[in-house]
C-alpha cells in the first residue's frame, strides 16, 4: 500500500436544482486497498461515484488522480485515466456472449472494422484465468445463461481487463445468494491483492467488513468519517450511517470538521 492516494477528492459539492446532494465531501482510495463507501439511501454515494465516473460533473471541488489534478467530463475521460465502474445493474447485454460483453464498445478490429475474434477470445480467457473465475463453462455462452454471481464476475473482469487502476463496484452483491456473494467478495479481495484500488459501495455491512480495508461513511451528502476495518465495529459504523456521529476519525482531518458541522 502506498501513501499517496491513487484517487483523492477534495471538497466535492454537487447540487441538483435546490437539492444539495453533496456538500464539501472528501474521499480517497489507495492502490492495493479496498475502500468501502457506505451510507443510507440518499447519502450521496452514487452521486459521488458518478462525479468520478464522468456521468456527473461536480459543481466545485477538485479531483486528484495519482497526485495530479484531473478533470473528468465523461465516461471516456474516466476510462482513459484507468477508472472503471461496475454498476449495480451490471450493464451487460444478455444476448451477447462473455467475450462479446468483455469487449463491448472496445472491440479489437482492423482498419476495415473487421472483428478480431481470436484475439478477443484469447485475452478474455487469460483475464478470466488471472482472476481465477473458473465457474463459467464456456466464454462463448450468452450472458443470459449465467448465474448472478457469474454475471457479476464478467462485469468485474471487464472492468479489470482494460489496464484499469481503480475499479468502483456499485452494490456488487445486492442480488446474489450466499455462495455467489462469497465468490464475488473473493474476487474483490483478489483485485486489491493485484495492486488495484477498489471502491465498493454497499448496504451490506457484512460484505464491507469481509473485504474493505477502510470504510468511508457519508450521511446526507456530508462526510461522517473514515474508519479502519481493524479498529472499528459494525455497531460503530451503523451508528455513523444512521446518526452521523463522528465517533472515531482517522485519515483526513477535514472529515471530522465536516461531520461535526
Amino acid at each position: 500500500m502506498t501513501d499517496t492516494p491513487l484517487l483523492e477528492l477534495r471538497g466535492i459539492t454537487k447540487s441538483f436544482g435546490s437539492v444539495q446532494a453533496l456538500s464539501d465531501v472528501d474521499f480517497e482510495v489507495r492502490s492495493g486497498e479496498v475502500m468501502a463507501l457506505v451510507g443510507d439511501n440518499g447519502a450521496g454515494k452514487s452521486t459521488l461515484i458518478k462525479c468520478v465516473a464522468g456521468t456527473h460533473t461536480a459543481d466545485s471541488g477538485e479531483i486528484l488522480f495519482e497526485g495530479r489534478e484531473v478533470h473528468i467530463h465523461g465516461p471516456k475521460d474516466a476510462a482513459s485515466l484507468g477508472i472503471e465502474v461496475v454498476y449495480q445493474d451490471l450493464a451487460l447485454c444478455d444476448n451477447l456472449d462473455v467475450v462479446q460483453n468483455m469487449y463491448l464498445g472496445r472491440e479489437a478490429h482492423d482498419r476495415l472494422q473487421r472483428l478480431k475474434e481470436p484475439i478477443m477470445e484469447q485475452k478474455t480467457a487469460e483475464t478470466m484465468k488471472s482472476l481465477a473465475v473458473t465457474t463459467i463453462r464456456s466464454i462463448r455462452q450468452p450472458v443470459a445463461t449465467l448465474s448472478g454471481g457469474q454475471r457479476q464476475s464478467v462485469a468485474v473482469a471487464r472492468a479489470v481487463m482494460w489496464n484499469s487502476k481503480l475499479v468502483i463496484l456499485d452494490e456488487p452483491t445486492a442480488a446474489l445468494g450466499v455462495a455467489q456473494t462469497e465468490q464475488v467478495l473473493e474476487l474483490v479481495r483478489r483485485l486489491a491483492q493485484q495492486g488495484l484500488a477498489v471502491v465498493i459501495i454497499s448496504h451490506n455491512l457484512h460484505d464491507v467488513f469481509e473485504t474493505a480495508n477502510r470504510i468511508t461513511v457519508l450521511r446526507l451528502g456530508r462526510n461522517v468519517g473514515i474508519y479502519e476495518r481493524d479498529k472499528t465495529t459494525q455497531q460503530e459504523v451503523v451508528a455513523a450511517i444512521t446518526a452521523g456521529v463522528p465517533t472515531k476519525v482517522s485519515g483526513i482531518p477535514h472529515a471530522a470538521t465536516g461531520a461535526a458541522s
Partner: protein, 422 residues
C-alpha cells in the same frame, strides 16, 4: 453463412473440447446440443419448407419443375431484400413500417430517371439504380434521425412515412397512372438469366470463396492458440455449400421456356450476395456487434461508449436502402411502376419473412439468414398455392398460419429453456 470457428451469435456450438468425433457425429451432436438448449435456429422452418415443397409437388403438376424453381427465386427476391433490412431494424427492437412504400419510392425513382421526357433523354439504369437507392437511404437517414435524436417511437415515425411515401407515389403517378420501365439494366434485375457456363462458374466461385474464408478463419484461431472445431465438420459444411450451389445451378440450367434454355437468374445471385454481405456486416464487424448490443440492452451499449443514436440511424438507412433495392427488383418483375406499387401485402410479407425465420421482435436476436429462409417460405407457399389453383384468399390464410406456428414454436421452446434453468 457461419464459418467454422463458431464465434458469434446465439447459435454458438458446444464448447470446443466436446468436438472431437467425426464430422457427421459432430454435426449431430451440435444439433442435439442446440436442441437441448432450445436453440432450434432455422431448423423447424427449414423442415416446414421441405414439407411445403413436397406437398405442392404432389398437389400441383407444374410446381415441381426446374422452370418454376427459377420463378420462385425471382418471386422471392424483392420481398427478401426488404426482409434483410427488416432483420436489422428488428435486431434493434425497432420497427420500420415505411419500407413497402420506400420500396415504391425506389421503384418510382428509377422509373422516373430512366423515363425519357421532352426535355431530356432517359438515364441509363446503371446510374438510375444507385441514385434511386441513394434517395431512399436519405429517407432512412431522416426517419432514423427523428427516431434516434428526437426520440419519437419508430412505430409512429415509420407509420407516418408509410402514409407520406404512399402519398408521394399516388401524387406523382396520378396523371400517367403508371410508368413503363424500358431500361434493360433495370429489367435485368428481374429477368436476366446467366448462361449455363456462367452459372457453373458462379457455383464454383461461391464454393471456393466459402472454403477460403472458412480456412482463413481457422488459421486465425490456430495462430491465437485456440481450439478449433473438428475437421470433419468443416469439410461437411464446405461440402454442403458446394452441393447447394451446384444443385441450384444444375436445376436452373435444366430449365427452358419454349425451347429457349434458361439458367441461373440474376435475382438469385443478388439474393445470395446480399445474404453474404449483410451477414458479414452483422456478424464480423464492429458495427454489427454494436447493433446486437443496442438491441440487447441500449443502456449497456451506451455505458460501454457505443454511439447508440448513430447505430440506430445507420440501421434505418440500411432498412430504406434494402427497401429501394427490393422495390427496383419488384418493379423489374412487372416492367412498370403504378399507383398501387408498394401496397398489398408487401410490408407484412417482408416483416413476416424475417419473423418466420426466427428473428425476435424484441431486439437482440436474429440473423440475416432468417430473412432468406422466411422469404423462401413465403414465396414458395404463394407460388405453390397459385400453381395448384387455390383461391388467393387461401394464400393469406396459409401464410398467416405458418407465421403464427413458427413464432409460437419459438416462444414455447424459449419458455421451456427458461424453465430448465437457463
Amino acid at each position: 453463412m457461419s464459418t467454422d470457428v463458431e464465434v458469434v451469435g446465439q447459435d454458438t456450438g458446444p464448447p470446443p473440447e466436446e468436438v472431437s468425433a467425426s464430422g457427421v457425429e459432430a454435426l449431430v451432436r451440435r444439433g442435439l446440443d442446440n436442441l437441448r438448449t432450445g436453440n432450434l435456429g432455422v431448423l423447424p422452418i427449414f423442415l416446414a419448407l421441405v414439407f411445403i415443397v413436397v406437398f405442392f409437388g404432389y398437389r400441383a403438376t407444374n410446381f415441381f419443375t426446374a422452370e418454376n424453381f427459377g420463378n420462385i427465386i425471382i418471386q422471392m427476391a424483392g420481398t427478401t431484400m426488404l426482409a434483410y433490412g427488416v432483420v436489422f431494424v428488428l435486431l434493434l427492437g425497432e420497427i420500420d413500417l415505411s419500407i413497402s412504400y420506400v420500396a415504391g419510392i425506389g421503384a418510382l425513382a428509377v422509373a422516373e430517371l430512366q423515363n425519357p421526357t421532352s426535355s431530356r433523354s432517359g438515364m441509363s439504369g446503371l446510374i438510375a439504380i444507385p441514385l434511386a437507392i441513394a434517395i431512399c437511404v436519405v429517407i432512412g437517414l431522416v426517419q432514423g434521425s427523428i427516431v434516434a435524436k428526437i426520440g419519437v417511437p419508430s412505430f409512429v415515425v415509420t407509420l407516418a412515412g408509410f402514409l407520406i411515401w404512399q402519398g408521394v407515389i399516388v401524387y406523382k403517378l396520378a396523371l400517367p397512372g403508371s410508368i413503363i420501365i424500358q431500361d434493360r439494366w433495370i429489367n435485368y434485375t428481374g429477368s436476366y438469366y446467366f448462361s449455363h457456363l456462367a452459372g457453373w462458374l458462379i457455383a464454383a466461385g461461391v464454393t471456393v470463396l466459402y472454403g477460403v474464408v472458412t480456412l482463413g478463419s481457422i488459421a486465425g484461431s490456430v495462430r491465437a492458440g485456440l481450439k478449433v472445431q473438428n475437421k470433419g465438420l468443416v469439410i461437411a459444411k464446405v461440402l454442403g455449400v458446394a452441393v447447394a450451389a451446384f444443385g441450384v445451378v444444375a436445376i436452373c440450367n435444366s430449365a427452358s421456356i419454349q425451347g429457349t434454355p434458361l439458367g441461373l437468374p440474376l435475382a438469385g445471385v443478388i439474393i445470395v450476395v446480399f445474404l453474404v454481405v449483410l451477414t458479414y456486416l452483422a456478424k464480423r464487424t464492429t458495427f454489427g456487434r454494436h447493433v446486437y448490443a443496442v438491441g440487447g440492452s441500449a443502456e449497456a451499449a451506451r455505458r460501454a461508449g457505443i454511439n447508440v443514436a448513430r447505430i440506430r440511424i445507420l440501421v434505418f438507412m440500411i432498412s430504406s436502402g434494402m427497401a429501394a433495392i427490393g422495390g427496383i427488383i419488384l418493379a423489374a418483375n412487372v416492367n412498370s411502376v403504378d399507383t398501387n406499387f408498394g401496397g398489398g401485402t408487401l410490408l407484412l410479407d417482408a416483416i413476416s419473412a424475417a419473423v418466420i425465420g426466427g428473428t425476435s421482435l424484441f431486439g437482440g436476436r436474429g440473423e440475416v439468414r432468417n430473412a432468406f429462409i422466411g422469404g423462401a417460405v413465403i414465396a414458395t407457399v404463394s407460388n405453390g398455392l397459385n400453381t395448384a389453383g387455390y383461391n388467393p384468399g387461401t394464400i393469406y390464410m396459409v401464410t398467416g398460419t405458418i407465421l403464427l406456428l413458427a413464432v409460437t414454436l419459438d416462444t414455447v421452446v424459449r419458455r421451456l429453456q427458461v424453465k430448465s434453468g437457463r
